[in-house]
Amino acid sequence: MWAHSRGGLELLFGSVKCHEVDLDSNEITVEKLLVWIRENLLKERQEMFLKGKSVRPGVLVLINDYDWELMGHLEAPIKDKDSVVFISTLHGG
């Protein structure tokens, strides 16, 4: 699967916007993906990305271009070849 970060969040991942993630099992949940990202990709300032088991306020999670609220939130299933985007809301103008 592919994990993308947008809206400034990529800065937390060494300015890399797109990460390929090999899943050990056929299907995992977003909750487990967040744990994996915390342990493997996120090197600094975790509080800018995570809060508790979830993402911090102001971050939208998109699974194949769908808001994760429509897909089951933390329980949303992710399969191989899925695309997950983490996007920080912008306020500038």
Binding site: G8, M48, R56, P57, D67, E69, G92, G93
Partner: protein, 422 residues
Amino acid sequence: MLEQKLADRDRVPVRSAAAEDLRSAYTTHGLNSYQVCRYSRQLLVPAFGIAGQEKLLSSSILVIGCGGLGSSAALYLAAAGVGVLGLVDRDTVELNNLHRQIIHSEEAIGTSKVRSAATSCRRINSSLSILEFPNGFSADNALEIVRKFDVVVDATDNLPSRYLISDACVVARKPLVSGAALGLDGQLTVYNHKNGPCYRCLFPVPPPQSACQRCSDSGVLGVVPGIIGSLEALEAIKLASGTGEPLSSRMLIFDASLGRFQNIKLRAKNPSCVACGDNPEITEANFHNMNYEAFTGVAMTDEVIRKQVVSLSNSLSCLELRKRIEEKVPHVLLDVRDEHQYAISALPQSTNIPLSQLQKNSQELRDIILDDEKMPVFVICRRGNSSQEAVELLRNSGVNALDVTGGLEAWSREVDSKFPLY
């Protein structure tokens, strides 16, 4: 022919008695011959046509914020022939606005943004009716202003205003076109329309203060808000004229660096939303008491407040710094801004190590900076906030670090006005 059309121009609000008089025997709609000619190229778009133009001419659209987003939004709305255009902003035009705020010109520097924007819009379309709100938008005046309009465009640049505007639109039952831009990224959506979400449905809890980046800190490529503002005008025109499908329950995400637009499907409105849910907590009765700056922990202005964290005995003023440089007192001058900011302008003889690098490895860097532990390290940044963080960090690892109070902005004020400020 043209003279007659120009003479007709000012007299003809659509559907007024005067318009009836001037109505041609050749038409069955409310546009006179000047308006038919003026808007002909969009009358020719089948999905818009006469019916769309008539609706637009009798509609009113409020643009909140006359900056990067509001510039292109207001100009396109003026050109397209909106009936009444409302403009809100309490700021004045500054030199560093002009690269993106294309509605303002060099002559407008120092004058009201609303006045400057209104002048530009009238220059494009003198038949436009414009309502100017130069005192800004707050919980005190929000409902009163929003109620005068059919559609609201959020073209602001800060978090508390976004909550305030969304709540006001929910209470006043107005659709809200919301755009944002920063760096090379843009976002656009329509809130509070039919079964779509409001801003609070998506973001019930505000993000931490540290996640709220501003154009004045993070920068923005001028054309990016220009594109998003143009798209805001488009969505507002669609809503006002009943054309196409508004971007409700969807969000358009623009990545300028990759040249890519992504159109994502958003959740529906949340029945338990405190603003637009079934039992709202935010109502007309308590709206005036809302404090959006306290709720978000962010100020509505672009002003940066400097907080004194480091003790004064571990600080020195820019004048004192100049004295020590002139007297050749041995020291290290450490500039902790990011490299791309250091490249814009910096004090001679300064060493650049960004705060983020210091945070990663202050011990090792201490060795690089210093042979002598007692050597004073004068730490400077843009405004004097990051430098204080760096001083705390360095002092904790035994470095004799001192903060240059107020940073390079203070240097420019107190020592040398020729320092290139940004």
